[in-house]
Assembly symmetry: C2
Homo-oligomer: 328 residues x 2
Amino acid sequence: MKVALIGLGSVGRGVAEMIARKGLGITITGLADSTSGVIDPAGINIPGVLANKKTQGYCGDRNISAEDIIKTGDYDTLIEVTPTNALSGEPALGYIKAALLRKKHVVTSNKGPIALAYKELRALARKNGVALRYEATVAGAIPVMHTIENGLAGNEILALYGVLNGTCNFILTRMAAEGLTYEQALMEARKMGYAEADPTYDVQGIDAAIKLVILANTIWGNGAKLSDVDRTGIDLLTPDALRLADEEGCTIRLIAEANPHRHLLRVSPRILDKNHPLVFDGTLNALTLETDMAKEITLIGKGAGSIETASAIIGDLLYIRDHHVKRP
Amino acid sequence: MKVALIGLGSVGRGVAEMIARKGLGITITGLADSTSGVIDPAGINIPGVLANKKTQGYCGDRNISAEDIIKTGDYDTLIEVTPTNALSGEPALGYIKAALLRKKHVVTSNKGPIALAYKELRALARKNGVALRYEATVAGAIPVMHTIENGLAGNEILALYGVLNGTCNFILTRMAAEGLTYEQALMEARKMGYAEADPTYDVQGIDAAIKLVILANTIWGNGAKLSDVDRTGIDLLTPDALRLADEEGCTIRLIAEANPHRHLLRVSPRILDKNHPLVFDGTLNALTLETDMAKEITLIGKGAGSIETASAIIGDLLYIRDHHVKRP
């Protein structure tokens, strides 16, 4: 199986390293970061490219672009792991469309294109007879899409509830445990590398809402958009609110929830009993699926991280390898 | 997709009802309980058969046996859901072999044959080019096998820990919550329908050990046998032990665990922090998989129940339908 890898940040590096280390019958024939590219039909020397990236800041030839690789390269599957742009989805959206039009399978960790253009991309993939997989877009290493697609096949999914943003969960954990203010806990999250310099996307619930939209479209195909999500962040929560919850044996978590029968699509701080399955400390993510036959199934795991996200990408690649790519 | 359904207890009824209700492109052409059978190449009238079973105690023609259906029936996939016999695996083991030899796919909820003869059955299925699936044997509705096979594909599974017996979890929950003795909690479990008249298999950890053996063979192909499991039940636990754990913010749960690097294959009562992901009340099951890339993934859900187990069977059927059975 030949792949083109576009994006060489934390996720891209993890994917490249795991493919190089594990020898899964996957050959990287094209690779690009934002300013350069490498092409080798015989298989790119990954350790060499990663060393170049580290020393010179870019990975290959400045005259080779991501577009060159996507539009002319020899590959079965595009791995698209550039940074998320939640407003336009670009440049990832264009990359994904170009690959699908060439009848290439696509695996992406990029929330922008999937949240913005799910219906169009799904139709384009079907029309061209290829797979579009995006396990890594929601809840990091937790195989939520595989569970929806195969593990719970035949079930009607009635509703879902999840902790889909590890940064918020960390901040709320620290506010509850130490009586910190929101600002103090955010500073701690920054120091630990859990929060970005601009934490808006995380703390205002935008990141969780984007993931909720992706889940809702995948499960119910209902054309949900980010603007449909009733959204409240955690940035106005006070230590007092957490203390009051604590006095009742409860705590507060940022919960993303969807229930099409109740027309519910919401991200907001919720008071939960401390024994609730969605209450856990730190940066983990979790998702509960409420179904007609299996009843409630909860999945808990790492929501971020280079190798953890690579796990989701590689699960998608192997699914395509085993179920879609014809082997000799 | 044509199926033969052997076994019409709680699980078999659930499967038949769900197939009849959901119309998943699955037709039941043969059906047997322990003393009678029904054959209809055009598709059996399920509500009629279930009504017969209820009124007369058997489902069909006393002159038609499970063997007749398995060996001469027209079907793609055998659904084998007869009661577990952990000593010989029979009659299920013979049923499954006969179907595989006829190049029929097999889906089973029967722990006996899989725990006793995994290697042989797996080889027989491969040789005949058919699928052998057994999602329902471990942790009821939780799609653990799908997660191992697809969701975490590419990961090395390093170890696992689980709550694989809901009866024990219920008894321990009640002992901790109310200070009940083991005998009192067992009586309550019986009244609720969570414990059998003879609770030996559950409370001595045999049921959990069988599931552990199935998981170990599936993941590591290491030929683990029931006699390899270091096993301690919950029947000698005292309310005092639970009280002492409680004083340290802990509780006791029956944990099944495997770690091939440490040669560990054990079912035993363990003291766990109350915040541990494997600590929850009631009859739920859970499994934590420790992997190299995804790190720890925990799955929680219903470990038993007619429709819940049917969910696992139907997930397997649809996987076979979509990935193995050629459609016109």
